[in-house]
């Protein structure tokens, strides 16, 4: 799922890139016409590789005739339409799926197939109603949760990256701390919540610390994995080109670790929300975790689902923001398909 989105995100760039690639084969860049031709050739190359002879795109061949050019453009347009149509079909199907599920739920709930639905199962229309009537209360609590999660994420990820990089740079440190880190990281951190509540009281700090305790290790291990994912060949190359060990680290290892690091950050985002909500569920003055517990105890399933809906939206927005940053930073990555 996530990988498909990646592909989509980077795709608009693709014709431009391939146009450049074709330009290297001698299709002179310059006039818009020629650039178009280049793009056309490139896309053609993607879609109709088998049907074409290599000469058409090689530098030695003569420039294509107007006829040929028109044929190419048509083929490209056809390929584009096909692709667009495919992706629209999928969108419609996705939407249909959601509607069917929600409709079924509403139906089962209203007809009484789900017994006592209002006390146990709720229904979509009830959830929407709840969201509206309780909007002020819910938004306030959502704010509290988002605030704590954001601080937990930034603190935990920041320190995780920092320690991960230090460990990556100095292996002795990594090996020294390895057993301790492993034990700490394997603890079910949610079980630490009562401890943090004892130490820091029923406060934002308690939530944040729990989030940090999860996020830190996730990011730390991913940073380390990232550092190790950088091929030793690239380090050797840098050394042979005259880089000292500090330069190798800053200019090769660090940027090379970023893709794996980002995978860690994505997880960490989810975990920071998990940590905060978990902590709130045990004890809190405000926050969506508190709401979850209260609505559960009051037998208000619509309220529960309302909170879950908000949490889902928050996670999605956070992820989307992170993805934007990632796409920006990782422009150099091959498109993931």
């Amino acid at each position: 799922m996530s990988t498909t989105e990646h592909g989509k995100h980077r795709n608009p760039e693709a014709p431009q890139d391939s146009a450049d690639v074709v330009a290297e084969y001698g299709a002179a860049a310059g006039s818009a016409r020629e650039a178009e031709h280049a793009a056309a050739t490139a896309v053609l190359e993607d879609h109709e590789r088998e049907a074409r002879t290599p000469e058409t795109v090689s530098s030695s061949g003569p420039p294509p005739s107007p006829d040929e050019l028109r044929r190419m453009e048509k083929a490209v347009a056809r390929a584009r339409t096909r692709k667009r149509r495919r992706s629209w079909t999928v969108r419609v199907l996705q939407l249909a799926l959601v509607i069917v599920i929600l409709g079924l739920w509403e139906l089962l709930s209203r007809t009484g197939v789900l017994p006592n639905a209002d006390l146990f199962y709720g229904r979509p229309s009830g959830v929407v109603e709840f969201l509206w009537t309780e909007r002020v209360h819910l938004l306030g609590n959502a704010g509290a949760t988002i605030y704590a999660a954001a601080i937990g994420f930034v603190t935990g990820a920041g320190s995780g990256i920092l320690v991960g990089l230090v460990f990556g740079r100095f292996e002795v440190l990594e090996r020294t701390f390895d057993p301790v880190m492993n034990v700490l990281a394997s603890l079910p951190r949610i079980a630490l919540a009562p401890l943090f509540l004892l130490w820091f009281g029923i406060s934002d700090l308690a939530k944040v610390v729990l989030a940090v305790s999860i996020v830190f290790f996730v990011v730390l291990f991913n940073t380390l994995a990232g550092v190790k994912s950088v091929e030793s060949e690239l380090r050797t190359v840098a050394t042979l080109l005259g880089a000292n060990s500090r330069q190798v680290f800053l200019k090769v290892v660090l940027p090379g670790a970023v893709p794996v690091l980002f995978a860690g950050l994505r997880l960490a985002l989810m975990f920071s929300i998990l940590g905060v909500v978990g902590s709130e569920m045990i004890a809190a003055k405000s926050g969506l975790g508190l709401d979850v517990v209260v609505y559960g105890q009051l037998l208000q399933p619509n309220g529960l689902f309302a909170v879950l809906t908000i949490l889902a939206v928050v996670s999605a927005v956070f992820s989307a923001v992170l993805r934007l940053v990632e796409n920006r930073i990782l422009r150099w990555m091959p498109e993931r398909t």
């Binding site: 450049d20 290297e24 042979l240 005259g242 090769v252 940027p255 090379g256």
Partner: protein, 281 residues
């Protein structure tokens, strides 16, 4: 005994090098290398003893595992010989290996994927502290030399395999190395691209003729490019064969000439001999 006051310092230290080691170029002085692991100790190369004069294009050929890459890596300073010494001299000065004055090129593309072509080619200059404007200009010059002008802003993933190897070559040339060490640099390319790259590389090289050590398993390539071919058996130097063709060479003509076919045949036979343990008398 009185010392002559004008006597050069090195003789006073008793090092007494011969003319050979004084000259620029490369000297393998009875070099052996043992590979050791917990389980075994293996003699990878044994008693390599040869000199590469300044400006010579040397090719080392041999089957896989014969130790040719080990020999190259010892020049690069990536491997320290367990016996003997490898000395590389530029401007009368022995380099301490690994040295940034040696350029090394792999078969596999080793451009940094997150850097544009331009910034990849600049890398070696950047770590030397060359000013931004100057290194940018120099990088552009070498990018043009390898025929990649106009692709400066592209990331490696946007370049074809052949273009990436050109990029590697540009990056290598940009640091203006005294020696070029190449480990099958074109072996991963398709036959056509390979031929083009060989010719272009040779043209660039023929302009200033730096010392090259070129490791390959491809006999034809060795004979086309090099001044001299060392044929290796398992871990030892079996044959040392000069390549007589004039420079500059036009590879597409040379490739199909009778003399070349004969030489190729000769090399082939020597390689076969070497595989069976043969060596020059």
């Amino acid at each position: 005994m009185t010392q002559v006051p004008t006597m050069p310092a090195r003789e006073a230290t008793g090092a007494a090098p011969t003319d050979d080691t004084e000259a620029n170029g490369l000297v393998f002085d009875h070099v052996s290398h043992w590979y050791v692991s917990d389980k075994e100790a293996k003699l990878v190369v044994e008693d390599l003893d040869f000199t590469v004069p300044d400006g010579q294009f040397l090719a080392i050929v041999g089957g896989s595992g014969c130790g040719k890459t080990t020999a190259l890596n010892m020049v690069a300073g990536l491997i320290k010989p367990t016996e003997g010494t490898v000395t590389a001299r530029i401007d009368g000065e022995a380099l301490s290996l690994p040295s940034p004055r040696l350029g090394y090129m792999w078969a596999r593309d080793t451009l940094l994927p997150w850097r544009s072509l331009q910034r990849n080619v600049e890398f070696g200059l950047e770590v030397r502290g060359v000013a931004r404007a100057k290194r940018a200009e120099q990088a552009r010059r070498y990018i043009e030399m390898v025929g990649l002008k106009g692709n400066e802003k592209k990331f490696p993933r946007q370049l074809s395999h052949g273009m990436r190897q050109r990029g590697n070559l540009a990056r290598l040339l940009a640091i203006e190395p005294g020696f070029l060490l190449m480990d099958e640099p074109f072996s991963a390319l398709d036959a056509q691209t390979k031929g083009v790259m060989q010719q272009e590389f040779l043209q660039i090289w023929e302009q200033d003729r730096r010392t090259v050590v070129y490791v390959t398993h491809d006999l034809t390539e060795a004979a086309l490019l090099a001044d001299r071919v060392l044929v290796m058996g398992q871990g030892y130097l079996a044959y040392d064969i000069p390549i007589p063709f004039e420079r500059p060479r036009t590879l597409d003509e040379l490739r199909f000439s009778t003399e070349f076919a004969e030489l190729n045949r000769y090399l082939y036979d020597r390689l076969m001999d070497a595989q069976k343990g043969g060596r020059a008398a």
